[in-house]
């Protein structure tokens, strides 16, 4: 295990100025499915660089091409075009060697529901060539880490969604991976379960493991990612740290006004002049401004508008996405 990690690290190139080495480096990466008339481009020429030790995110709505990208990085789907290096190696020729250094948490659970929690981990360790004994002790260690020790002998079928996710994360760590790929790690979980997962991922990040995650939750991206790219329709619309993205594409604050009758077109005309920029959604109007309170006051001043609520909040990645694509992330 550690041998594979060393091998990989001697082969990879470092980025300029001796910064952390790039564990993923993609140039003009393309993934297309089907041929001829049925050809569908899922990933349309993206450039990505993920550095060792960072938590990197792909933020985008369903169908943006996040999973397709993750599968190419995880060496389970060949790229259609462009170049890709993962852990310094070429997925086209070194798939098994790369995968030996990766942990994968796929979008769809691939746990065997009929096996016990522990057996799911143990057999997975075998897939990496670990001896049975090592698999068993590693399994117990990881169950401790994801707080599932007490469910060790339960069938996976009997676990809640959040527990299954944690088990999948534990499983992805069996081989001591250098980088973990998480495809929508908390989609479908309730808020409580999400926080437990986030907390484990923070812990993992602190221990120096590189994380790549996809999400369509802007709060997840904000919480977990050092850097992220906003992805839409197979392309990267923008990239940077959450703070940089907000600074570059939004004002600091946002005023949300909800018309009582749900009719937004006319109030939008009236309010347009009150902010640097407004966005009109089906049920509310967003006013982008550097001073939320002043703008909110000006909005409420328009007594002729029947507004159910006016609130001020900080700008988020959701707003960045809206700005870049004209659409909301979660529909």
């Amino acid at each position: 295990m550690s041998a594979t990690r060393d091998e990989a690290s001697t082969q990879e190139g470092s980025t300029a100025l001796g910064a952390a080495p790039a564990l993923v480096s993609a140039r003009g990466l393309v993934k297309a499915f089907g041929e001829g008339d049925k050809r569908r481009v899922a990933v349309d020429g993206i450039d990505v660089e993920v550095l060792e030790g960072e938590a990197f995110g792909f933020l985008g709505p369903n169908g943006a091409g996040k999973s397709s990208t993750m599968r190419m990085i995880g060496c389970t789907s060949p790229a259609t075009g462009g170049t890709l290096r993962v852990l310094g190696l070429d997925p086209a020729t070194d798939g098994p060697a790369i995968r030996a250094g990766l942990g994968v948490v796929p979008q769809e659970d691939s746990l065997d529901g009929e096996l016990t929690v522990r057996d799911n981990l143990v057999i997975y360790g075998r897939y990496f060539g670990l001896p049975w004994k090592a698999c068993r002790s590693r399994a117990d260690e990881l169950l401790e880490f994801v707080q599932l020790s007490d469910r060790s002998d339960s069938r996976v079928d009997t676990l809640s969604g959040g527990m299954k996710r944690r088990l999948t994360i534990a499983r992805a760590l069996v081989n001591n991976p250098r980088m973990v790929l998480l495809d929508e790690p908390t989609t479908g979980l309730d808020p409580q379960a999400r926080h437990v997962v986030w907390e484990r991922l923070f812990q993992l990040k602190r221990s120096g493991v590189t994380l790549i995650l996809t999400t369509h939750y802007m709060d997840e991206a904000e919480q977990l990612c050092d850097r992220l790219v906003v992805m839409d329709a197979g392309r990267i619309a923008a990239g940077g740290s959450p703070r940089e993205l907000i600074a570059a594409h939004c004002t600091r604050e946002v005023v949300e006004a909800r018309p009582a009758d749900g009719e937004t077109a006319r109030p939008a005309e009236v309010l347009a002049s009150l902010a640097e920029r407004i966005e009109v959604l089906p049920d509310r109007i967003l006013l982008y401004t550097d001073s939320g309170d002043d703008t909110a006051a000006a909005v409420t001043h328009h007594h002729e508008l029947d507004l159910a609520s006016v609130l001020v909040r900080r700008a988020s990645l959701e707003d960045v996405f809206l700005r870049l694509t004209g659409r909301t992330l979660v529909d």
């Binding site: 060949p78 030996a100 065997d112 057999i123 897939y127 060539g129």
Partner: protein, 257 residues
């Protein structure tokens, strides 16, 4: 082969809990078939054509090696048809394996190794039971058992190739009904294919099952010739290897689109 062992271990682990059910299925089937056909139908046949009336032996001795080959084919089908769909879609088996150090080749090979283990168990149980029924006179039957394993693999490999391309379970049931069942009945296991209408006899020659049946029967009766056995083994190996190579391509297409 060695790199595929963990994938085989998965299947053993997964099926460990069912070993009693599986052993009883392996036992009850042969007992019923040998009793109903070997003894029941057999007494009728022997009364009419004499105790050495079917290719020179009684009906039980005729049918037992045929049933051995059919058992191997059915078992091969059983473990490489819907389990392939399950492994791909329901149990997470293949999706989990493919993101690890295992290669697509290991995923397939591991599954087929497990099928081989299961086949070996099934034909061993069958051979023991048939021996208790007094179906075998020659110690050559010990060579028929491995021959039947080959027959099972010759079916399992192409069936795995077929199954990995299926999106619905239904087509597996149809495959059984329209391919496996007719092949079982008309490939010489229950009656010599010379009894088939012209045309169908030639079809039977092409089926790998007929070669398995003929090989097992000649071996069990101690009548095998080297040349004929080699021919049968080569033909079965062709199906096994051809099926494996085809499955490899189709697995790669499905697992790494």
């Amino acid at each position: 082969m060695r790199t595929a062992l963990p994938a085989m271990e998965y299947w053993l682990l997964r099926n460990r809990r069912y070993w009693r059910t599986q052993l009883s299925a392996m036992t009850v089937g042969p007992v019923l078939y040998l009793a109903a056909l070997g003894l029941g139908v057999g007494s009728l046949v022997d009364d009419n054509v004499g105790a050495d009336g079917v290719q020179g032996v009684d009906y039980l001795a005729f049918i037992a090696p045929g049933l051995l080959a059919v058992t191997a084919m059915q078992q091969g089908f059983e473990e490489s048809s819907w389990p392939v769909i399950g492994a791909l879609r329901w149990w997470g088996s293949y999706p989990a394996q493919q993101v690890t150090s295992l290669r697509t080749r290991d995923v397939l090979t591991g599954h087929l190794l497990y099928v081989t283990v299961k086949l070996t168990a099934a034909v061993t149980v069958f051979t023991a039971i048939a021996a208790l029924f007094g179906a075998f006179d020659s110690a050559w039957v010990l060579a028929a058992a491995p021959a039947s394993v080959l027959c099972g693999v010759a079916h399992a490999a192409p069936i795995a190739a077929f199954s990995i391309t299926r999106r619905v379970e239904m087509s597996i049931a149809a495959f059984y009904r329209f391919v496996i069942l007719p092949t079982s009945l008309f490939s010489g296991a229950f009656f010599p294919i010379s009894q088939l209408p012209a045309g169908l006899e030639q079809v039977a020659y092409v089926t790998p099952l007929w070669h398995g049946v003929d090989l097992c029967r000649d071996l069990a009766l101690g009548e095998a010739t080297f040349a004929a056995s080699l021919g049968h083994v080569a033909y079965l190996a062709l199906w096994a290897v051809g099926g494996y190579l085809l499955a490899l391509r189709l697995y790669a297409r499905r697992l790494a689109p």
